[in-house]
Point group: C2
Chain length 565, copies 2
């Protein structure tokens, strides 16, 4: 009988931060050794952060990552951890083509011991790996104290054939996969189903270690797990927090003994937490300690402010009420109530004098006059950002962004938009969930992802209401002209969101949408709005490319990038 | 002896405009037949426009393109052109995987006759084809009236092996390649060298038909040509204009007889024309007839205004002078002179009253106060855009965009940025070139790409000076505080631009830059500025992705897209 203890180190790395990521690996390796692990596995591209996009193309970065891996191996041994097998992801170089590779290495006995290069390079959705990396063409089985450990990186288990098929033929005691799998609603089940299938295919338990944390517009949810050949869940780490999971492999047992299985959050809590973690990490990794945003009294800015307060505390949120001549008293009160509920700074900056100053020169009418109001607010929000060093957060939701129902350089300004992938109806649902959680005692900053202290319930919310009920119940309005309602310009959100979900999230074409039962007028209206809003979603001006390498289409670097040569 | 006349139809298509593109194909097919051609060849993805990005993934679009190809074949025959072989590019579907293919078809005798699917799918730089298309795996040789015509699509000739190698083994009389090859400075020579090599490889002349015109941030320069097996240039079409070139193939001749070889423009004229064409087509394809922009009296806005006037005429250019308390009298005069020289509308909108209105509420200092000025100007430019239906053009150059030396939502606003890929020193060079051309008699709108009328010299420029000499000679300044100079914040442009060219355009890393002879302080300064400015170049806020398909990273549609279901 051979037993081997695996530690699943679900950690939060930062792209380009070789020093910080290496320190974190050291810390979790020590923790794993302390808990008696023989192997500790980290996520895909742990050392470099993920996804590194075109940073991988920079040779100096690849050299620095290689040096750091060697430093880490040496340091681990010096620390008395030379016996531990430390599995980390990093970037390598294919010396034939001089192109980067997405690599797994094992640090052991003071050396960078074995390498495996990712075989299947995803190039769809958010992934651009075929563009960046050269594909690996070998399967690797490690012999760790007599235990045969097959290894794979993320996409390698999502496609049939390749290294997993070869590993299945060779036979292993366990399949270890390291992943950088971004969060999506409902993906937990998809991953588990897939992993169960692969465990059956290789006839051995599968260990799935995933990254956690936000990186630019991706959120990694962790939720690492181990699944047995018959689909039994043997271990599951919590979502959205760093965690060291433990799995004891017994190679002589037909079935493994289950360990700790973390509970799954409910669907609203899951999405809310993903949005808060994305914002929290974007701020931390880009060195922002506070945010500013316009508070209109509407539901979007209220939810975003609540998320920001949950991420960094109410005292680091600067809400700015910017009423115009068309703002209702109710809206002003709702904005003030929200700020009070979350303990935010609250300033009132009326825009009417500024609007009048512009109008005395420009005499705008119609949509131009409406946009002017939104843009004056954008200038004020950015003035707070610039003068106080705050991150401006945009409050647009996916429904309005999809349809172009926003003012470019106006309400769309900001460095981060926490709810840009939430349809309006989902915004209402999450606001209701947050209020229910507040009523049940979850104060500001009381989410599990903040602090990680036992029993930290956050700062209590007065009367247990975080988001004013009025902001949830009143009909949505941009309040840019008297009596304006969103429904003047858009289908009712309940209908609109169902069409948008089908058209965008499920990629239904026009014929599919009609077959879904939507009427032809609505379908054509929504498709036209969505297709035409593309330029607004980009915001930056297009311009002709005239040199061999330019920005934008050629050069794709992460925004969050701590690499400094 | 077999002779076959090929017509090279270098045309300007619009992405998604199946009707318009088909009409244009009809027109050029008639012209080709009228000139006695047996074959007329159009560029890559002629019918759909190129690059179509994720529009290819929409099944309804692929069906519409297929219907349009059949309509075209029928229409050609009905028009008495059934004998003509019409080679067009379009999108197909791989029925096994239901993925799109980049396809060449031949329309003949009223039917869509033969197909070839692109084999090598570029996925670097501006290209995302591997992401979008399924690769073809066959080589195709057409038999046209006894002449063996090998075919290939663009990238197929840029890589060794694949269909061209197979064609070389089978033997052909001519290799016909259809292309959507974007413009880059100096690419003409690269293409010709490559084509000569392939002509030698297949031991037959090579016909290279390229697209012309602007599509979003790409410009296609045309410059179609035919090259013989020994590298002799047999035909060359002019750059930047639609054109029907003629090549007579004689299969019994060891060497072909050269035809018309268009002259190459000088390098400054070439780049200037590329920028003007990009703007002109962006406007036409997105239905803008006029532009508005801020005229500061500086060189950047002066050059952009001149380009806009050359693209659409001075009377469609709305220049706005927006002086502040820090604007020099010289700057105001230079802006007015420029507007007069190009015949533009010219308004003065002082920003001091607006600045004071904001400051009475916000009391900003330092950079925040500087940004406020730029953002007030942004609001004014967008007010002109919204109220008059004008395209706002941004005037930023590549040097300042690279270094983040601009105000987000301020001077960076606009839908198109004609000089965003020109370094500052190149801006000066092009301004000088445009003045030399004006002095030599090229008036406003006198470029070859506008109108195409013989001897159209454009609207004469007073005194033969288009861009005020002062705008070219004075030290660059943002004029956002007293006595400010760009060189307070950036290395001198002559040095900066050499580092930027090496770092961005030639992808030199830090070690390379030091080996290039740049001092360590400059290298580190420039690299830090460029790497940190990534978020500003994007402008739109990042936000967490929480659904399976979202915008941005998932959904990549062209901005210019005329497809309407």
């Amino acid at each position: 009988m051979t037993q081997l203890r695996f530690a699943l180190a679900q950690i939060d790395t930062c792209v380009g931060d070789l020093d910080g990521n290496a320190e974190r690996i050291m810390r979790y390796a020590r923790l794993a050794a302390h808990q008696g692990a023989g192997v500790v596995a980290f996520p895909e591209m742990t050392l470099t952060g993920y996804p590194i996009e075109d940073l991988a193309l920079r040779a100096t970065f690849r050299r620095a990552a290689w040096d750091k891996a060697n430093w880490l191996a040496t340091e681990l041994e010096a620390d008395g951890l030379g016996d531990l097998y430390v599995v980390v992801g990093t970037v390598g170089t294919d010396h034939a083509s001089d192109r980067p590779r997405n690599r797994l290495v094992v640090l052991h006995d003071g050396t960078v011991w074995a390498g495996y290069d990712k075989h299947f390079l995803p190039n769809y959705g958010v992934f651009d790996e075929f563009r960046i990396f050269a594909a690996g063409d070998k399967a690797t089985v490690l012999d760790i104290d007599g235990v045969r450990v097959g290894v794979a990186i993320c996409e390698d288990i999502w496609q049939d054939g390749g290294p997993v098929a070869r590993i299945a033929r060779e036979g292993v005691d366990v399949l270890l996969t390291i992943n950088g799998s971004p969060y999506e609603e409902g993906k937990t089940h998809t991953r588990l189903d897939l992993a169960s299938r692969r465990a059956a295919e290789v006839n051995a338990p599968l260990i799935y270690v995933n990254q956690v944390g936000g990186q630019d517009d991706l959120v990694f949810d962790g939720g690492s797990f181990v699944v047995d050949t018959d689909g039994t869940l043997l271990e599951r780490s919590p979502m959205f927090v760093e965690h060291l999971g433990i799995f004891d492999l017994d190679t002589s047992a037909a079935h493994q003994t289950p360990g700790v299985i973390a509970a799954q959050p409910d669907p609203d809590e899951e999405v809310y937490t993903a949005c808060v973690l994305g914002l929290k990490d974007y701020m931390a990794k880009n060195r922002f300690s506070g945010v500013c945003l316009g508070l209109s009294g509407g539901i979007d800015s209220a939810l975003v402010a609540a998320m920001a307060a949950d991420a960094v505390g109410g005292s680091n949120v600067h809400g700015i009420s910017m009423p115009s001549m068309y703002s209702s008293d109710g809206s002003k009160d709702d904005a003030a109530d929200l700020a009070a509920n979350i303990g935010a700074h609250y300033d009132v900056q009326p825009i009417e004098p500024l609007f009048n100053a512009f109008q005395s020169q420009l005499s705008l009418e119609g949509v131009a006059a409406e946009n002017l109001q939104a843009r004056i607010r954008g200038v004020i929000v950015m003035a707070y950002s610039n003068s106080k060093g705050l991150l401006a957060v945009a409050t647009g939701n996916k429904s309005e962004l999809a349809c172009g129902y926003s003012t470019i350089y106006g309400d769309a300004v900001g460095g981060y938009a926490p709810i840009k992938d939430l349809l309006k109806t989902r915004v209402w649902e999450l606001a209701r969930w947050r209020n229910r959680a507040a009523a049940a005692g979850m104060g500001v900053g009381g989410l599990s992802i903040v602090g990680n202290e036992e029993g930290n319930a956050g700062v209590p919310v007065p009367d247990g209401v975080m988001i004013p009920i009025n902001s949830i119940l009143k009909p949505p309005s941009a309040e840019l002209r008297p009596g304006q309602k969103d429904s003047d310009s858009l289908p009712e959100y309940e209908l609109l969101d169902r069409v948008l979900a089908a058209y965008i999230e499920h990629a239904h074409g026009r014929a599919d949408l009609l077959a879904d039962g939507f009427d032809v007028h609505t379908v054509d209206t929504v498709m036209r709005l969505v297709d035409r809003a593309e330029w607004k979603r980009r915001q930056y001006p297009l311009g002709p490319k005239v040199t061999a390498l330019a920005f934008g289409r050629d050069r794709r670097l992460p925004v969050t990038n701590a690499f400094r040569e």
